[in-house]
Amino acid sequence: MGELDEFRREVEAWLRQNRPPEPDFLLPESFMEVGSDEQFEYLRNWQRKVYEAGYLGMAWPREYGGGGKPQVYQNIVNAEMARQKVPFVPNTIGLNWAGPLILAVGSEEAKKRYIKGILNADDIWCQGFSEPDQGSDLANCQLSARRDGNEYVLNGSKIWTSLGSYASYMILLARTNPQKPRYEGLSFFLVPMKTPGIEPRPIKKLTGEYGFTQTFFTDARIPAECLMGKEGDGWKMAMLTLTFERGVTGGQAGGLSRVSPGVDDVIALARRSRRDGRPALDDPLIRDQLVRFIIEDQGDRLTAKRGEIAALCNERPNAIGLSAKLRVTEHRRRLMQFAISLQGANAVRFVGDADAVEGGKWQRAYFNSFSSTIGGGTSQIQANIVGERVLGLPKD
């Protein structure tokens, strides 16, 4: 225990001393919103620094560039990064789902080739799952991967590709056999983005910024060894990826913190905002709303804690993990909406307006909160998952 406490203090001090200076542009709030080169370079440099200090991939094997320590060290770092609200590290997809996937099922060669670059941000990763005509219904994926000798030829497009403009690699779900039933015709690839014929085109988000891309594949040829597992294993791989993505399984390399505001910041906002000539924080109805948010937020923090105690989870061991995304992201979305309502007549101002409250960050944060109620499986799909996989209700 003493050693961990000491480590926590060390991390705390390091982050305090090394947090990068506030930039003069708005930072994205999560990896799903990185939309400009200056944002990207700033965050990539930050990730490098964190990795060089030894605070990323702490529990990954040493031989591939990790720290070889117990997971608890990484957990301490993650918690401290979140607490100090330092910028997040941008290679989320690499660190938290592609990386764990490669470590879990990848070849020795793949581990040697990819892991280090994931950690030091030399290689940013993106995810090619969603397509223009399907998203929630992932198994209906149509992008074609046709075997041709020692290569696969890719045709079609992926959409809503976070970090698509900056990525060196993509984890790709594609259809290798259109004749087979929908699950069996899918395969999973690790695709170099600089392959000729692959072209990411930026898409403007509802905030007005850029953040993700549509990624076009036109006769793009990749070596057959890009295949993860066997041909036809795609669905299995995709599901495994999603367990990492939704935080159900451990093994992530860290850095999942966001820079977006939390309940405390909303309380501070209520203190600064005015209602009837007085601080909004004095208004009994606003106080009651805030307390509701605090109770929920605290409930989720405590639930994460309770998840560590097996005797308090044994009836439905998957309940906490599988409901986490739904609980936390929906809470956030409503909290950000509430934060806008605290601003009186100024609630209508937006980023770029000189009088917008704190540069319009709340309005932007509310819009950005949908990234996690939609991305990674919508809340409606999450509620289905809880109903079916946790409670055992029938499929739709």
Binding site: D288, I294, I295, R306, D396
Partner: protein, 377 residues
Amino acid sequence: MTPLSNKLTFSDEQVSLLDVATTFCREKISIATVRRQIASESGFDRELWNEIAGLGWTGVMIPEDFGGSGLSLAEVVALVEPMGRHLAAVPLVSTQLFARALLAGGSEPIKRAFLPQLCSGSIGTVALFESEGDWDLGHIEASAVQEGDTVRLSGRKTLVCDAAVADFVLVSVNFSGAPALAVVKAADLPKERRERELVIDETRRCFSLRLDGIGVPLSSLITGERAQAALKAVRDAALLLAAAEAAGGIAGVLELTVEYLNTRVAFGRKIGSYQSLKHGCSEILIGLERARSHVYHAATLIAAGEDAEVALRMAKVEAGDSMVFAGDRAVQFHGGFGFTWDCDAQLYLRRALWLQNAFGDATHHRRRLADLLLTAA
């Protein structure tokens, strides 16, 4: 806002008590037994109570010196949660509230006189509320006046659970302008002084008590700071145990509902395949997960002797409201059958409404939480 504690531990004793109580309740307390108890006049199952007392559960948090197990309220929580799940109607919570008050405020002779009896199965309860229905336990009209070595009580208490089967009742009274607590024995509370009240949770037997003329020895009166401490201890325990019962209740009613949704067919499909019902159940589950976490966190703080006021009020709010939501949806999701007395959904909804309004509803506690958490600007 100062950061909130997220301490949550679960002792080996809690693990084993939760385990034993879960099995016990599953085997001994079926919905059929609950309905039998509802139908009976006394609402009390002596045999079941003797078994519970025989297991030592009444004395779990009573020190070994007085014949108990010397554990804490946190261990009692592990018993009460599964009981709530099965809608158990036993005077365990009443007895714990009585014990808790004595432990916090009773003089040595008072503790010695009553605690050992509780450990061997005697029943205690508390009489704290009055006709106005004010949740503020310090607001007391009933009074006590000293006459030599005796104090004479007067006034009326209401919503006293288990009063007909209790061996001792702890009554709050106004004594020289301050709250005091008098231990009244069953012999002083004959039938004529009790009037049965009809309450929404039909598993409960509640009474109003007429105190006029009752005399208790001065030595059985808890006064001054001790009385304040006892009242606070009772309130804390009541909040925690009500929240624990509700957390259990949510799990019970969720199971009932999921089972129905997996059986009943409409338009050629199991109704659980319809998302408006499925997603409703997911929301119930989320309430359950959060409520349990709040409950065991509050229990952790209480057991550690830390300030638990914020945690207790949050637990009560979350568990109480979530169980009402669950019970309400359970009735709706059972369709026409849900509207019947035969459908078990109503049993949970009634219990939920009882618990939600016991010792302060959500608005009451959120008002106080706002003062505790949000220093005015």
